[in-house]
């Protein structure tokens, strides 16, 4: 709760600081704010608190995921250096929107009441709509903002409709109370079609937010148009918070009704994996590839959700963290490279190994982590997810996931090939010192997660 209050007040404070002439001061301040929030958030560990008539519960689950999203934001921020250099007028607003959207993310992982989930999703999404369209003079960014807004608000509408139907069937918004009503219909028969409808609509709404197929259509277009800096935020924070909320809903409310939604989600996981990975293969734009890659990672996370045992919580947490760190590193480098070479395709990375050895090395490690190669966090993320699913005997699902992971190696390694085996397509890319530090930190973190996963693999 403290983190929510802090984030809100820091966000407002930041808006006022934005009036000052010096733009240079804003980023260090926001980093400081976020560091404070990160620490304050962790002090609540092992101390479960409930707020607003039990509508929000800050437990270890919420704290862990809050830590992930705040850390991700801290790591994203250094890549906004070019906005500062260009004296962007709206800088303070961008940062404030990021802070406000974190409030939404925290509500999504801490809710006990479906209304809170809805409000959280809305707070997060509305900031995202604006940020997607923040590059005002760029037609693609306008398109992205509008597309995301139209489709997103439609999806939220469906989500809300679902929540209302669930309320109609059970008479409550509290997820723990819904569970008893849902368990009553566990023997494969829907005693109340209302509840089934509600569940389905809620599923659709959340699936849209985490870009799970078949509700993923917006992802490549929106991500492509969104400024890379905000795409790094969108594809990590929204996904981590979305999956935490998704998992919480399914595990608390609908655990008893598992056999009703299980086939649907299995089908969705398979389709998500297939569309994400196969779609990414066909891309020539690195940015679009990363958009499809974020869809494919939604597929892996869905497997963890589906396995639905005591391993899945930890698996989702570990995977979200490893995925977020690597994705931020990759997109951060894309931003640096694209700023200089004015290109977001694979060709932009040609010869980066020669002009910027550090960027190329960090990129290689991020790609290895996203692909799931040992020594990196991504490997253990996948291993934990596969373990969770295999314990549940979801063998066929795992085989599909394995085939798709093999496909993943193809598109992740294309950029490595471009960096090390082709002639440079531009000069050395300038990298700020803060960004360098962030990149090195992310690399170290990826290795730590890959060498000593025991530190974080069992904390929930």
């Amino acid at each position: 709760m403290n983190s929510i209050i802090l984030l809100t007040s820091f966000g407002i404070l930041n808006l006022f600081i934005g009036f000052s002439k010096s733009k240079k001061i804003i980023m260090p301040l926001v980093l400081l704010f976020l560091a404070i929030v990160f620490v304050v958030n962790l002090t609540g560990w092992n101390d479960t608190q409930t707020y607003f008539e039990r509508m929000l519960t800050i437990d270890n689950f919420a704290i862990a995921f809050t830590a992930v999203v705040v850390l991700t934001t801290i790591l994203v921020l250094p890549f906004s250096q070019s906005y500062i250099d260009q004296q962007n007028d709206s800088l303070a607003e961008y940062y404030s929107l990021l802070l406000f959207s974190l409030v939404g993310a925290i509500m999504m992982v801490a809710y006990e009441n479906l209304l809170m989930l809805f409000v959280g999703i809305e707070i997060l999404s509305i900031s995202m709509y604006i940020l997607a369209g923040s590059d005002k003079k760029n037609l693609k960014s306008n398109e992205a903002g509008l597309k995301y807004f139209l489709m997103g608000s439609f999806a939220t509408g469906i989500l809300l409709f679902g929540i209302v139907l669930i309320y109609g069937a059970t008479g409550t918004f509290y997820i723990s109370e819904i569970s008893s009503a849902a368990t009553a219909q566990s023997n494969n028969e829907l005693t109340s079609p209302l509840l089934g409808m509600g569940l389905l609509f809620t599923l659709i709404g959340i699936s849209f937010k985490v870009s799970a197929a078949p509700f993923h259509f917006w992802t490549p277009d929106v991500y492509e148009g969104t400024p890379t800096f905000f795409m790094a935020f969108m594809s990590t924070v929204v996904k981590a918070a979305g999956f935490a909320g998704f998992y919480k809903l399914m595990s608390v409310s609908f655990a008893g009704a598992q056999n009703i939604w299980f086939p649907t989600l299995i089908a969705m996981a398979v389709v998500t994996l297939a569309i994400g990975n196969i779609g990414a293969v066909a891309q020539n734009s690195f940015k679009r590839m990363m958009a499809y890659s974020s869809i494919s990672h939604a597929g892996y996370l869905m497997i963890a959700l589906l396995s639905f045992n005591d391993r899945s919580e930890n698996a989702i947490f570990f995977y979200s963290l490893a995925y977020s760190v690597s994705t931020v590193a990759a997109l951060g480098i894309l931003k640096l490279v694209a700023d200089q070479r004015d290109d977001v395709s694979y060709n932009a990375f040609n010869g980066l190994g020669r002009t910027n050895p550090l960027l190329a090395a960090v990129m290689t490690i991020s790609m290895c982590s996203l692909a799931g190669i040992p020594l990196t966090g991504g490997f253990f993320g996948k291993l934990f997810i596969f373990s969770a699913a295999l314990e549940q005997e979801l063998l066929w699902l795992i085989i599909v996931a394995i085939l798709m992971a093999a496909v993943g190696f193809y598109y992740y390694f294309r950029v490595i090939i471009a960096m090390y085996m082709r002639e440079p397509s531009g000069d050395r890319v300038p990298v700020g010192s803060v960004a360098t530090f962030a990149l090195i930190f992310m690399t170290v973190l990826t290795f730590v997660l890959g060498i000593a996963p025991g530190l974080l693999s069992n904390i929930l």
Partner: protein
């Protein structure tokens, strides 16, 4: 402790080599590899010839998952560690005449790969084994893809995707086995050996693991990545791939497939033998038709590996012992042959048999070394190839006479392509390419002498190595026939 030293020394040395500028990197890497070899020799002297796993080092890794950092060596591991540590210094030495760009990265990658290989051969925990299995792959991919020939990018990419595809299946196999272990689950190898799986489960697991190993070896029909990759890679990478890396696949079968799913093996061993024997004949016949020397040796390698695979899957002591000794012999011979091809290529800029000839006239030393390695490859008695192939064929004959007879053609076909190569390259008239062909330099001799010594040592006194692995093989057979 000594195992941990063997494992981490190359990694540490690799990191240090990264910081050495210019061509000094190769000297530093060579020094590090020699030190590693000395450590391995020391381990061999300390080794007690029994079936126990020795030099164990144990450290919990991911405790709540029961995954441990468990390494150690029994006779089989020790032999492969010996092979690795013996070949890597020679491979580095063989690169001295080349000046690769970014030498520090090149040699650091070789040392990193050595760490991965040692890890694969010494890991006694399934996930640790998988971990090193992949760790060994990444450096060799970069070595081949960055320093390779013209068509390197698509070809090494295919190699990479192909092998990683296989190993992902292995990972699933291991995770499945892991969940079959009792209690809070563990990925310790002995827990895997003690599993009692039913026949269907074993059959499934067999395929999950076998695909990974078969792609690495490679067994027909999973071999399609191999000739191209060998041809396009820089010679040192080809030596690493053929001399050591393909042994990972064979070692994997011996340690992680046969004892864990013996019933799965007994369901499918007939098929595997047939595939292996097809590989022998197929590889050999294609080798006869090759003009590119590197491709020729690459295809011959498919034939030889086919025989090793066939011998091992007979599950006889002869077959297993032969397979293990043949891994050593094949490593020595194939590295030697690739080195000689490299010498010829550096002097003439061609690897095409049609453009070569008459080299013997100016090169007595090269011709002798070439001939000895070649005779070792075609398994002439008193050379190393004979011991291994004899044992392997005897194993296959114990399994099935017809299969033995067909597998035996490897000796005849091998002689055909090898002697044809020697004839085309070394005899005949000199031409523009081979006129003024210089004989071996001191450095080249220094690489070839240890290899030739090994050819005769294994050929004349195979017991040095057979006695090393015998107790471990007996122990494994005991587990398999339980």
């Amino acid at each position: 402790m000594i195992t941990a030293l063997l494992l981490f020394w190359p990694a540490l040395a690799g990191v240090l080599v990264l910081f050495i500028k210019g061509q000094n990197a190769k000297r530093a890497a060579f020094g590090a590899a020699v030190v590693e070899f000395i450590i391995a020799l020391y381990a061999m002297l300390q080794y007690q010839p029994n079936a126990q796993v020795q030099f164990q080092y144990f450290q919990p890794w991911i405790e709540n998952f029961g995954i441990n950092f468990a390494i150690g060596m029994d006779g089989i591991s020790l032999l492969l560690v010996f092979l690795t540590t013996f070949l890597v210094p020679l491979i580095i030495l063989s690169s001295f005449p080349h000046s690769y760009k970014n030498p520090n990265v090149f040699y650091a990658l070789i040392l990193f790969m050595q760490m991965g290989l040692i890890g694969v051969f010494t890991a006694f925990d399934a996930f640790l084994f998988y971990f090193f299995w992949e760790v060994a792959l990444i450096p060799i991919y970069f070595i081949s893809a960055v320093w390779g020939g013209e068509r390197r990018i698509p070809i090494t990419f295919k190699f990479f995707i192909y092998t990683i595809f296989g190993s992902l299946f292995m990972l699933v196999g291991f995770v499945y086995l892991y969940f079959q272990t009792p209690g809070t689950h563990t990925s310790d190898i002995n827990a895997f050996y003690q599993l009692s799986l039913d026949t269907t489960q074993q059959s499934w697991i067999f395929w999950f693991l076998f695909i990974a190993f078969a792609i690495k070896m490679p067994v027909f029909p999973f071999h399609t990545w191999q000739p191209d990759t060998y041809t396009e890679s820089p010679t040192q990478a080809t030596m690493l791939l053929s001399g050591i890396m393909l042994k990972m696949g064979i070692y994997g079968v011996i340690r992680w497939l046969l004892p864990i799913v013996p019933q799965g093996v007994s369901q499918w061993d007939g098929l595997v033998l047939v595939l292996s024997i097809i590989g022998i004949v197929y590889g050999s016949i294609i080798a006869i038709r090759q003009r590119d020397l590197k491709r020729l040796v690459a295809y011959s390698s498919i034939g030889h590996v086919g025989l090793i695979a066939a011998g091992i899957f007979t599950l006889t002591e002869h077959g297993l012992q032969g397979g293990i000794i043949q891994m050593l012999s094949h490593g020595v011979n194939v590295v030697g042959l690739f080195f000689i091809i490299d010498i010829i290529y550096r002097r003439t800029n061609t690897r095409d048999i049609k453009n070569l000839g008459g080299i013997t006239q100016t090169t007595p030393a090269l011709s002798i070394f070439f001939m000895i390695l070649l005779l070792g490859t075609v398994a002439l008695p008193l050379t190393n190839g004979f011991v291994g192939e004899f044992l392997l064929l005897s194993g296959v004959f114990q399994y099935n006479n017809w299969m033995g007879a067909i597998a035996g053609t490897t000796i005849i076909l091998g002689a055909v392509y090898m002697l044809r190569m020697f004839q085309g390259v070394m005899f005949g008239e000199q031409n523009a390419n081979t006129a003024n062909f210089r004989d071996l330099t001191g450095l080249e001799t220094a690489v070839l002498v240890p290899l030739v010594v090994m050819v005769f040592w294994i050929g004349l006194h195979p017991n040095t190595f057979l006695s090393l692995t015998e107790p471990a093989v007996g122990h494994l057979l005991g587990i398999i026939n339980r």
